[in-house]
Amino acid sequence: MAKLEILSDKCVKCLQCLNVCPCNAIKEDKNVIYIDDNCTLCGVCISKCSFNAISHDNFVTSKPDIDEYRGILIFGEQRDGKIPGVVHELLGEGKRLARQLGTNVSVVLLGINTDKMIRELFAFGADIVFQIDHPLLEYFNDELYADIITQVVLQNKPEIFLIGATTYGSSLAPRIASRLNTGLTADCTCLEVDVEKRLLKQTRPAFGGNLMATIICPNRRPQMCTVRPKVMRPVEPDFDRVGQIIRPDVVISQNLKVKKIGFIKNKVQKVNLADADVIVSAGRGIQKPQNLELIREFADCLGAAVGASRALVDAGWIEYSHQIGQTGISVRPKIYIACGISGAIQHLAGMMSAKYIIAINKDPNAPIFKVANLGIVGEIERIVPALIKEMKNRKQQYITC
């Protein structure tokens, strides 16, 4: 059995690792520290070593017995007791894949006072919830979450592990995959299974959305991927549905190198871009910063988030957190309304996968029209006010009838 190794040139014999090892595999004998065969490669000691004196490249030499791995695990991301939509979506997708593979779906839920969230996870399709409730888990923490989830994975051996491609998920997933020495595919937009080989076919955009690639991970387990929000379909929740709650026996380390100490909420953006069903986005074609108010008003009457092209951010008209495109964020709303955005390839890369694209631009030859389902040729200053008026009328009618 492969195991971790202590790098004797770096080890200062502080014995921190002895105390954190859940398997009692690290021993000290005559002033020599070594790891014995009890090691399960959980890796808890690695992140606890302040001297980087534990090597885990040996992980790779231990090929997992693929047939031991069964079931689908989902990262139950939560923040302040709220579960983001992507977890519901992953449950819907996980359920679909599990049906094909004849297996079940479990969720690993970390946090504090997590009881009230479990019912919701069952309602959206979880069969099992691994609940780890601890005061130290109140806030997301990469190293602690990675430690604990790796232990849950090694104890339960899921064949597939899905994580939402949120900021937290995208930070946590590579840390866990790296520790487990397994493959990880980022930002998937389509998942299929080869039932016979039990292989997960993971499709994702590459090269700024110019190419789609289908990736597989044939020899390592679990098969891990992050999935973009808004891509998969959740099932209708059934709050009478129940499942099994398991409280796994895991080591929770107290010695953390990263600590959250505060949060500054973005007050300008009422709806966040990643969650938005509708995004109204502005580019240089809005001509002056004052016209951003028009864009905001239009967004408000649609309940939409406000996005921007790189040009506006670079000009200092709006903060970077609004930037959509290659050096900003990628979005996938139901409706994307591009106002005065010409449609440079770098911008298209961040919004092309929106389900319905409306473009408003005075230049009929703007490249944005090539990807738009509906294109409006004209001046922003005339069209957007007309749209605001029209939408307000419609809403009135809709509410009254």
Binding site: D142, N210, V258, Q326
Partner: protein, 263 residues
């Protein structure tokens, strides 16, 4: 403070064209550039050195020509650079890349902070930073938009989230990935260009960094590309000319249709 900054060579996006018959990237005639996100990482490293002193070493894994790109990084202001280049590194996925970079960084040794761009514009995964930190057994913070406190350990950073900024402390040594908001990259200086021309940039092979062939390149990569294809784009598109009021009516019809009818 000793800083290691990771950089990657990527094709210039505007030039990426897909051969529709073979579904592969047409590389001929495409320029290679420093991954745009890495420029912010380079700039931040230089700023930290300017404020607290120390040394900036750039590292990259790639084909031998990437030496020229590293020269550019020295021209911008890095003190040294190292290229990891070996046929055995070819075809690496993010895991194999992280292992290789980790081996190179261990050989450089004596670092306090590693800075990476949030993601590359070609692979676009944002995985190498956290994966590398894990391989080195150090903590990491992704999407850093500001370093508030650098002179003390722990350092204090702002991390960009979907709905705001998280303030996070991290003990060193550690790794951060940075977003565009963090700074405005400078251009190479004349002095820098002269220095870069004379700089000796070592090229380390798998043997030099003592990494097993089984752990790097395609052999060390658990993921494989099964298939690639060109995405389907909207085929139907309708262009509306005419008066704003009429245009607005048609758009409103469509919006109401999508937003309310289906739900």
């Amino acid at each position: 403070m000793n800083i290691i900054v990771c950089v990657k060579q990527v094709p210039e996006t505007a030039n990426v064209k897909i051969n529709k018959d073979t579904n592969t990237i047409i590389r001929e005639g495409s320029n290679s550039i420093i991954n745009p996100f890495d420029l912010y990482a380079v700039e931040e490293s230089i700023r930290i050195r300017e404020s607290v002193g120390g040394n900036v070493t750039a590292i990259s894994m790639g084909i031998p020509q990437v030496v020229e790109l590293l020269r550019e990084v020295i021209a911008i202001g890095a003190d040294n650079a190292v290229l990891l280049s070996d046929k055995a590194f070819a075809g690496a996925d993010t895991l194999a890349t992280s292992r290789t970079l980790a081996a190179g960084i261990r050989k450089i040794g004596n670092y306090d902070l590693i800075i990476c761009g949030r993601q590359s514009t070609d692979g676009d995964t944002a995985q190498v930073g956290p994966s590398l930190a894990e391989k080195l057994g150090i903590p990491h913070i992704t999407c850093v938009s500001k370093i508030e406190e650098i002179s003390k350990d722990p350092i204090k950073c702002h991390r960009l989230l979907e709905d705001g900024y998280e303030i996070v402390e991290m003990r060193l040594p550690g790794l951060i990935t940075v977003v565009k908001e963090i700074n405005e990259p400078r251009l190479p200086s004349l002095f820098g260009l002269r220095k870069a021309m004379q700089a000796e940039i070592p090229v380390w092979t798998a043997k030099d960094i003592d990494i097993d062939f089984e752990l790097c390149g395609i052999a060390g990569s658990p993921t494989y590309v099964l298939d690639t294809f060109a995405p389907e784009h909207h085929v139907e598109n309708e262009i509306l000319n005419g008066e704003p009021e009429q245009q607005a009516k048609i758009v409103a019809d469509k919006l109401m249709d999508i937003l309310y009818k289906n739900s």
